[in-house]
Symmetry: C2
Subunit: 127 residues, 2 copies
DNA sequence: CCGGATCCCCAAGGATACTG
DNA sequence: CAGTATCCTTGGGGATCCGG
């Protein structure tokens, strides 16, 4: 792709940090990884086991993206059996503060959402 | 799954409210719509103009999903020229509280994320 | 004015095999 | 052990046309 045209991603991209954040943690796995790393340093396969329904592929991608955005730090020990450790950065840790509030809200209001869905389905379609 | 280890991770199962929430607001437009409705009641085309880079299609879908989950309320006035009004529910308004904290965090730390990206790109690829 | 129905495209996500 | 490369599937999102 030699020449990427300036495709208008969003008109609100420049001053829209939340978009960046949502794009990162809105995916399937990022939040799980961040939560898993709350306990401390973990190696790749430890993470893989801890989240065990994630594939190596997705774990790798997710870690790379999180590292790229500065949420986690990757440390490679150049040894014969490779050893790589992942841990939260200060940025990652600080992020979990507001995130947990959102999680808490979700937890407290999930029942309402479910109720609303049933209600909607019930009133919308007779069948 | 009655008993797992010190799994503070939200299991990826039935009781995973955050997944529901992220799936809803992690999309392209939901947040924009919710923010737009903060000011009060708006009609369909008013919303369309306010977010003007959204298509009618996506606005319609987004509104329906938000209504389905109980974040907004839709009021139809059966008139010859159809009139439909949208407004936040209490649930939707309460959601914006933790959400704004996340937005605020994003706002305050966006520069760090951007820096991390440049840093990562700079150290990762020499070319 | 307010959408639904339809078609299309692309990128995110998964599975598997391979590598240093 | 810690990934990468490759292929494939899925569905979100856009454009457009149609209907009430």
């Amino acid at each position: 792709m030699p020449d990427t045209q300036t495709k208008e991603i969003f008109a609100f991209e420049q001053p829209c940090p939340i978009r960046d954040v949502l794009d990162r943690i809105g995916d399937q796995w990022s939040l799980l990884v961040l939560e898993a790393l709350q306990g401390g340093v973990l190696r790749f396969n430890e993470l893989n086991r801890k989240i065990d329904d994630i594939s190596k592929q997705m774990l790798s991608r997710t870690l790379k993206r999180l590292e790229e955005d500065g949420f986690i730090r990757r440390t490679l020990f150049a040894q014969v059996p490779p050893r790589v450790e992942y841990e939260l950065t200060n940025l990652g840790r600080s992020f979990l503060v507001p995130m947990h509030l959102l999680v808490q809200w979700a937890d407290e209001n999930h029942i309402r959402i479910c109720t609303a869905r049933l209600d909607y389905a019930g009133s919308g379609t007779g069948s």
